[in-house]
């Protein structure tokens, strides 16, 4: 697991982070290279807004998914969130730790809270449509401001 570095901002008492080692999909998921595979998770913003994760369901290993397609769901006491896959490919592994402790997504969304690993089918073509941390960050901040108004 690479050592993560973060962009951070604080609203009220809440610290929101984005890992500089990831690329971001607008539907609040991230992707990071890991050898020949890609690791996928949900963003810090998503887990904070969603609340404490009680259930995680992801597609099984061997499943194919398209970029922007549904790859699973996260259920909290407040809501059910769809996990959108930031890339196309075949799911090779799911994070089995989340079965016993789904709240790893809340406590470490960019590290131990990863959701699945995927063998990409068009990484070079698709990564251009994703956002780096510096581009994602102000968009996240605008979403935070909108949430604070509610």
């Amino acid at each position: 697991m690479p050592e993560n570095r973060y962009l951070e901002t604080t609203y009220d008492k809440f610290i929101f982070r984005a890992s500089v080692d990831c690329l971001y999909h607008p539907e609040e998921c991230w992707v990071r290279e890991d050898g020949g595979l890609l690791v996928v998770g949900v963003t810090d913003f998503q887990q904070k807004v969603g609340g404490d994760i009680a259930f995680v369901e992801t597609l099984e290993p061997g499943s194919e998914v398209k970029q922007g397609g549904g790859a699973g769901t996260l259920e909290t006491i407040k809501t059910t969130l769809t996990v959108v896959s930031p890339v196309s490919g075949e799911i090779s592994e799911v994070n089995s730790s989340l079965e016993d402790d789904p709240q790893l997504i809340n406590t470490d969304p960019f590290g131990e809270g990863w959701l699945y690993k995927i063998k990409p089918s068009n990484w070079e073509g698709e990564k251009a449509s994703l956002l780096d941390a510096q581009t994602y960050f102000p968009k996240m901040e605008e979403k935070i401001r909108q949430e604070m108004k509610k």
Partner: protein
């Protein structure tokens, strides 16, 4: 240690004791949530005392940068003492038993549930907290 003072703070942290033993502990929770949700939603944040004590980064950083008001159920002053230890003296410290006595209002009868007739006590405490928030935001010395 340098103490950073916010000249015109926009946010105030409210730290209820949450004491489980006394009805006044339950009252701190309801009063603080009333301030957060209804009276001063744009200017207050509640600090979760157990998380604050256990080392919650967000709680501690907020309490170090922004003014706080502790709300204690009794004169053990657990919220105030813990806050002083972890982030410095709160700007205001409210003790509910004293406040209720001053205004001749009875404490709730149960720690487990507050009933309609406890609303007066909730309103009094919430109003007192809100007034202190206003004083802080107005740049009290």
């Amino acid at each position: 240690m340098l103490e950073l003072v916010e000249i015109n703070p926009q946010k105030v942290g409210i730290i209820p004791c949450n004491g489980e033993e006394l009805p006044e502990g339950t009252l701190t929770r309801f009063a603080c949530r009333k301030v957060l949700d209804k009276l001063k939603p744009n200017n207050t944040v509640t600090i979760c005392l157990p998380l604050f004590i256990a080392g919650g980064k967000e709680e501690r950083e907020f309490a170090q940068k922004f003014p706080t008001i502790t709300v204690d159920g009794c004169d053990k002053r657990c919220s105030r003492i813990n806050t002083e230890k972890l982030s410095g003296k709160p700007r205001h410290s409210i003790v509910i038993t004293d406040l209720l006595k001053e205004h001749g209002i009875n404490a709730p009868g149960s720690a487990r549930t507050l009933v309609d007739m406890d609303q007066k006590a909730i309103d009094l405490v919430a109003g007192e907290i809100a007034q202190k928030v206003d004083e802080i935001l107005a740049g009290e010395k």
